[in-house]
């Protein structure tokens, strides 16, 4: 039997400000926002800004299909030709409303778990959203502390509240190191529930 590979997790905020560099070594831009598909949780791409302290947002963006690799210190792309107009990835008006940071997380039973302070990503063949880091509410018994809440494979979210299955509260983790196992256990529980229902 093979040992399962531990999940490689990172916070979305760790990507913000990371330089985008071509394989030729040219610095193209910096990552501004992370854009993901709310239905499947998959990263769709990144909005960009110019490097520098008083830099402006750029009118182009980086789709995930154009990413050569996400490294510890830079996001690599083949060349600038992979960039697309920002409005094609995330129209500005839509993007402004769809920022999940500070959104409230509710269970499908109506319990308020807290507000999102960061989003946890799983880095593999693709980059996927696997959980939220929230400023916990009293419902979790760790009010005011930051905890990690796992997400199912498929999410059905819209509006200003992010809905998670009530079972997610049993898999809340207080550190990122142990969160990968919590995500796997949570998703396995959901699969078992689906199998039982069939």
């Amino acid at each position: 039997m093979s040992t399962p590979t531990p999940m490689l997790l990172l916070r979305a905020s760790e990507l913000t400000g990371r330089p985008v560099v071509t394989l030729g070594g040219e610095l193209v831009a910096e990552i501004k926002d992370v854009v993901f598909d709310r239905t499947g949780g998959r990263i769709a791409g990144f909005t960009l800004r110019n490097p520098g302290l008083f830099s402006r947002s750029r009118k182009d963006s980086l789709p995930w299909s154009g990413v050569h690799g996400v490294g510890r210190d830079a996001v690599m792309v083949a060349d600038e030709a992979v960039l697309i107009p920002a409005k094609e990835l995330a129209p500005r008006k839509q993007a402004h409303k769809a920022n999940v940071l500070e959104d409230r997380v509710l269970t499908d039973k109506g319990r308020d778990l807290g507000r999102v302070v960061d989003v946890v990503l799983h880095s593999g063949r693709s980059l996927d959203v696997v959980g939220y880091e929230v400023q916990a509410s009293e419902a979790l018994g760790t009010a005011g502390r930051r905890v990690f809440i796992p997400l199912p494979n498929t999410m059905a979210v819209s509006g200003e509240n992010l809905i998670v299955p009530a079972a997610a509260t049993e898999f809340v983790s207080e550190d990122l190191a142990g969160f990968g196992a919590a995500v796997e256990a949570f998703r396995s529980r959901l699969r078992e529930g689906t199998d039982d229902a069939l």
Binding site: A12, S13, T16, G17, I31, K32, D33, V34, V35, F36, D37, R38, T39, R42, A44, G45, T47, R49, L53, F54, P63, W64, S65, V67, I84, K87, E88, L89, A90, Q94, A95, A98, N99, V100, L101, V116, D118, V119, R125, S126, V129, V157, S158
Partner: protein, 45 residues
Amino acid sequence: MAWWGWVILALVIVLVLMTLAAVLQRRRRRGGVIGLSDPGRSDSK
């Protein structure tokens, strides 16, 4: 007001403006995590 009074006032105004600019810039640079139901070109790798 003596000339040095104007100098101090100007320095204070500059300091306030610089602090405001730094705060605004920090907020703007924080970035976000945008969840869209149908992001433009979300083709997988």
